[in-house]
Amino acid sequence: MSKVQSTLIKAFVSTLRRDLLIAYKKKNDLFNPFMFFLIVATLFPIGISPEPEKLSEISAGVLWISALLAALLAMDNLFRADYEDGSLEQLMLSPHPLYFLVLAKNIAHWLVSGLPVVLVSPLIAYMLSLPEGAYVTLFLTLLLGTPVLSLLGSIGVALTVGLGSRGLVLAVITLPMSVPVLIAGTLAVTQTQNGAELSGFLAIMGAMLVAALTLAPLASAAALRISVN
């Protein structure tokens, strides 16, 4: 029993390490979502208004939508390269449950594409004149929410991995599913401004994260079994 567990952990860790290593070698993939996040967030003041009062009203929503779009863009290289060079099939042939391997890939992917976005968000929030006192809320909700976006997105990616041009299909599948996260994230910011307790919102987002962590890799694994054949 313990031997099975230890090999499983080994497989999990080595998948994680491998993906992080690949991402480190290909620095483009590392920076693309991050740059995209910065650029999209910059477009809003230009498109709407540079006035701090107006910006502070929309800044939380802008950050969340930019993070959502960046996550969507980053999704493309979650399984794509592995699918093309055949290592995804190798992964699926391994004796370990695909659930854990997909989870490892998801975690690696979030560390590379989601975490930088979360880390840089206070800076962008400052540029968008986010109300003071909302920084902690925004940072914590992004920290809990962006993994959910990645996990949900991976279902869509797994379903469309064999497609040549899937940009729009992926967006149409993934974006409506991300709405609950978007709602929880932006409501947390606006409501804590009005004096609501932060802990309630964190509990909701934490629940979403736990649900996504347990269910989404299952769906992604099933989807991969369907599309890689």
């Binding site: 379903l159 469309t160 497609l163 899937r166 599948i173 409506p176 599913m177 709602i183 989807a223 054949n229």
Partner: protein, 247 residues
């Protein structure tokens, strides 16, 4: 327990023949319900003291909106049946239900917003129900576009079945989160005229007729599209050849 009835449903031929027998009855009762419902709703229902004669819209909107909520559960059940028992008929249902659901949802949205013009003074409002219905519309289009993108029929069938199940869970989460979002952002507009109006039989009896008519219509349309899909998929089989030759 005898499961033959269940496995019979897996036979496209059996379904095609049986549904051919049902169709005239279904169409007949739909026409009857629709005629009674529409004539009653348009001509005889008393004016609403607040909304005047716009309450006629209610008789189209409510049945259509109520059935458009059933599409994701229907597709999720059919998708599960397909994934578990590999029943080809279930996949046909998943396939034809998605675009039909998009139609129903679009009509529910359009009639809801036209009804809202007087209640809210504007065509569109980010009301909880309208918003979650709009998101459901996008999700249905997602299922349709996934099917078109994955041309390979077996892979596409299983992918769409899975997406229907995921989508069904998601529709529920979206519904609750949108309601939550809506109640926190604005004083909730009371859209539950259904409850106010269901006070006399002259109001709700025509509604029952319309609901029956729309449900029957849903069944008929689903069956018709399913039959078409069956014919195309089974075009190499003997019974379709014979059927075509007889016609």
């Amino acid at each position: 327990m005898d499961w033959t009835w269940f496995h019979k449903w897996g036979s496209p031929k059996w379904f095609y023949e049986l549904s051919g027998k049902w169709l005239p009855w279904l169409v007949g009762s739909m026409v009857l319900c629709l005629t009674v419902g529409i004539v009653w709703a348009l001509l005889f229902v008393p004016q609403d003291y607040q909304q005047g004669l716009t309450n006629r819209i209610f008789y189209v909107h409510v049945p259509v909106a109520s059935i458009s909520l059933a599409f994701f559960p229907l597709m999720a059940i059919a998708g599960t049946v397909f994934l578990v028992w590999r029943m080809k008929l279930a996949d046909v249902v998943v396939k034809v239900a998605a675009p039909l659901g998009a139609w129903f949802t679009a009509l529910a949205l359009a009639s809801g917003s036209i009804w809202g013009v007087d209640t809210w003074g504007t065509w569109w409002i980010w009301d909880g129900r309208l918003t979650s219905l709009l998101l459901q519309f996008f999700l249905l289009l997602g299922v349709v576009s996934l099917r078109t993108a994955l041309e390979d029929s077996e892979g596409a069938a299983r992918a769409c079945a899975l997406l229907s199940i995921v989508g069904c869970i998601n529709v529920v989460v979206i519904k609750y989160s949108v309601d939550w979002w809506n109640t926190l952002h604005q004083p909730s507009t009371d859209f539950s005229i259904a409850a106010d109006q269901a006070n006399g039989p002259e109001i709700w009896v025509p509604l029952v007729f319309m609901i029956l008519a729309v449900y029957l219509f849903f069944a008929i349309s689903l069956i018709l599209s399913t039959r078409n899909e069956i014919l195309q998929r089974e075009k190499r089989s003997q019974w379709v050849m014979e059927l075509v030759k007889r016609s």
